[in-house]
Symmetry: C2
Subunit: 120 residues, 2 copies
């Protein structure tokens, strides 16, 4: 079974995660056969390792991680590979892959441009 | 003249801003009559006040700020209003408005879901 992790930064303010909860709800409604779990780099739970552990426990043998970040700075270039390697060591039988950050996607950027244009 | 500011967090790694530069380029190509400037909360230039000053200097009498953030946490709920008030005091003749964070927009979230689905 394949599953997906939406991986965000995290924040102190619990309301920060509202768009992430909405993302997960949209995914569940549209892709009910591919389980989704949120995970956070810091200040929010679950961690990436906890999220992957819960998916493995639920039967996943393949997990795709989508970084919900705009830019690829230190968090994605330095912190994320360390976490990823730790997960690969902890779950050696799991196929673990990642996508680019969502901010790399032309359609995501276009949606932001369109949102901005509607605001004028 | 109306102009737009795309306001992001900023990061130490200069490569982090690539999607923001692409966003501004997309905007310029599609909305050439509405000047766009990037601005950053921290670690990158220009600041919000610098960006708005440059637009006023270029002739803007109305500026719309679009927060390029997913969630609305402490940065948008606490830091941003302080910056905004400072700009309003500094440019009293300017009409200054803001949109919600782009992560609040259903179409942006849908674009992220679709990007994730293509990655599976």
């Amino acid at each position: 079974m394949k599953s997906i992790v939406l991986f965000g930064h995290g924040a102190r303010d619990a309301r920060w995660r509202e768009p992430f909860d909405r993302l997960a709800a949209l995914w569940k409604a549209q892709h009910p056969n591919t389980p989704v779990t949120l995970a956070f780099l810091e200040m929010m739970q679950p961690s990436l390792e906890e999220a992957i552990a819960s998916q493995v426990f639920a039967g996943a043998n393949e997990v795709v991680i989508v970084p919900i970040f705009f830019g690829q700075g230190g968090h994605l270039r330095n912190d994320f590979p360390v976490l990823l390697n730790a997960c690969r060591e902890k779950f050696p039988g799991l196929t673990l892959s990642t996508t680019p950050a969502v901010g790399e996607d032309d359609a995501v950027l276009q949606a932001i441009v369109d949102f901005s244009a509607r605001a004028l």
